[in-house]
């Protein structure tokens, strides 16, 4: 790891982000959603599951999606090769990109939550939960970004991530029975755990989300090993 090289990658990717219309649209999505939801909320603000839906949309459409798109583009345009031949290590490249994606996610999430009501998130437990959730989506984005060779193919991978992990609270609107298997499985998904956390004050949900984040890190590591030995 080398701070100067990480900052060089960060600077390049931030400039590139600002000139890429497709990426620039991503942080706008949760903000528009937040504005729409605010109309629904009325006086006493939105219920917690609705707030986490906005969190889920932010992390899937900004964090995971931008990360995989940026990595896929480096693969597709063959610029990754130039970086790999330079003294920058693969870790420098990933960290530089993650900082850009982290910054954009932070801005989009803060604006969205300020619109719909940021109060429920202003405590240590909720913030730790959000950070772990961010890491979970970031690792998914990196892992998928490692093997996508084109920007066009990223959307095929993004969809399941978005629907499974970004929109999990929507399962309540599908009209499934309270004790259906799907609902029980969805209950251990990271977003649902964080929603539960607000009712219990227990740290167990945080622990479970941490396990999800670790799992995603492991997934990224496996993708990395696989891509490396294939070449």
């Amino acid at each position: 790891m080398n701070a100067q090289r990480i900052s060089a990658i960060f600077e390049k990717d931030i400039k590139d982000f600002m000139k890429n219309m497709m990426l620039l649209m991503m942080p706008v999505i949760p903000i528009i959603l937040a504005l729409l939801y605010k109309q629904l909320g009325g006086e006493e603000g939105l219920p917690i599951p609705m707030l986490y839906l906005i969190v889920g949309v932010t992390f899937s459409s900004v964090t995971a999606s931008c990360m995989m798109t940026m990595m896929a583009e480096e693969n597709e345009k063959k610029t990754l090769r130039g970086l790999m031949l330079s003294p920058a290590s693969f870790l420098d490249i990933i960290i530089g990109k993650s900082l850009v994606v982290g910054l954009m996610s932070f801005i989009a999430l803060t604006i969205s939550l300020v619109i719909v009501g940021i109060k429920p998130f202003l405590n240590v437990q909720a913030i730790i939960g959000l950070i772990l959730l961010f890491l979970f989506f970031l690792f998914l984005g990196i892992g998928i970004g490692l093997f996508t060779k084109s920007i066009a193919s990223t959307s095929a991978y993004l969809m399941p991530v978005m629907f499974l992990f970004g929109f999990t609270p929507m399962i309540d609107f599908l009209g499934l029975g309270e004790d259906s298997t799907a609902i029980m499985i969805a209950d251990v998904f990271p977003l649902m755990q964080l929603i539960d956390m607000h009712d219990t004050n227990s740290w167990i949900p945080i622990g479970i989300v941490a396990i999800w984040a670790l799992g995603a890190a492991l997934f990224t590591y496996i993708c990395f090993k696989k891509v490396r030995t294939d070449d």
Binding site: Q4, I9, K12, D16, T79, R81, G82, L83, S86
Partner: protein
């Protein structure tokens, strides 16, 4: 200092097809060394092995006294410069921003950006977005990128293949200046004139095998028949062997004022390649 590059018994197999077979050569520090061959002969593969992008199947490779096992280190990567055949730039960024990225990655001072922009004749265009550049201009930016950290040794894979003659001449002058300042250059090309003009030594590669290696002038002498080619005012073209028995014949032609032009046989590198491999270099 030892040789800049040392290759012994190099072999590279891609799914049972040998792309490189038993190739051995060395490059001296300060040399411009040209690897010549038609497309598909293994030039790019050789460069990829020498720069650590590919691993050889067999053979010993040392570059700047570093063994190929350590080609993955940042230390080695910062010592060499590479213009690869298929690399590209960040299209949405300016020329300047592209070079700035690599300047910082290679830990070179930012003043180097303007120095390199002069070498490749792009100072005026530095604020232009790369997507708006012609192919030749992009190639020149890539060359600037490869040289930005003043590497001791540069690998250039077909550096002038996309350029028009004016730019080629400019780049050649830039490379010669760089070389005079002490940079060792390893380049591949299928352009024989380029090789003759630039290279101290050339190696001919065909189907992954080295066919010949030497100084261009010496090779041209070695493959010359040494015969005299004489054109007379009467329009005759005579080939007279360079033997003492023919001295009078030549003397007579000169005394009779018949000689319009006379040269010794002096094949071009392209003709030599054709002679050795039976192939044109394209």
């Amino acid at each position: 200092m030892n040789n800049a590059i040392e290759v012994n018994g190099l072999r590279k197999v891609f799914d049972q097809n040998a792309a490189i077979e038993d190739v051995s050569f060395f490059v001296k520090p300060g040399e411009i060394f040209g690897l010549l061959g038609p497309s598909g002969s293994g030039k790019t593969t050789t460069i990829k092995i020498l720069t650590g992008e590919l691993e050889q199947t067999a053979g010993d490779v040392n570059v700047l006294d570093v063994h190929s096992q350590s080609f993955g280190t940042s230390d080695f990567k910062s010592k060499i410069g590479i213009l690869s055949d298929n690399s590209s730039l960040y299209e949405r960024l300016t020329i300047y921003d592209n070079l700035k990225l690599f300047c910082k990655l290679y830990d070179a001072p930012l003043e180097q950006i303007d120095v390199m922009l002069d070498v490749v004749n792009l100072r005026e265009e530095s604020k232009k977005t790369v997507s708006k550049l012609s192919k030749g201009m992009k190639q020149r930016v890539l060359l600037a990128k490869a040289l930005i950290h003043k590497p001791k040794l540069v690998f250039l894979d077909e550096p002038t293949s996309a350029l028009d003659p004016g730019n080629v001449a400019h780049i050649h002058r830039g490379l010669q200046k760089l070389n005079e300042a002490g940079t060792t250059i390893f380049l591949t090309t299928h352009d024989m004139e380029e090789a003759t003009e630039l290279c101290d030594r050339v190696a001919f590669l065909d189907k992954g095998k080295l066919q010949e290696l030497g100084n261009p002038d010496e090779l041209r002498y070695k493959y010359s028949t040494h015969a005299f080619h004489v054109e007379t005012f009467a329009g005759e073209r005579l080939v007279i062997e360079n033997e003492s028995g023919n001295a009078n014949k030549i003397k007579e032609l000169i005394e009779n004022g018949e000689v319009k032009a006379m040269q010794t046989d002096n094949p071009t590198l392209g003709q030599i390649f054709l002679k050795i491999t039976g192939k044109e270099l394209v």
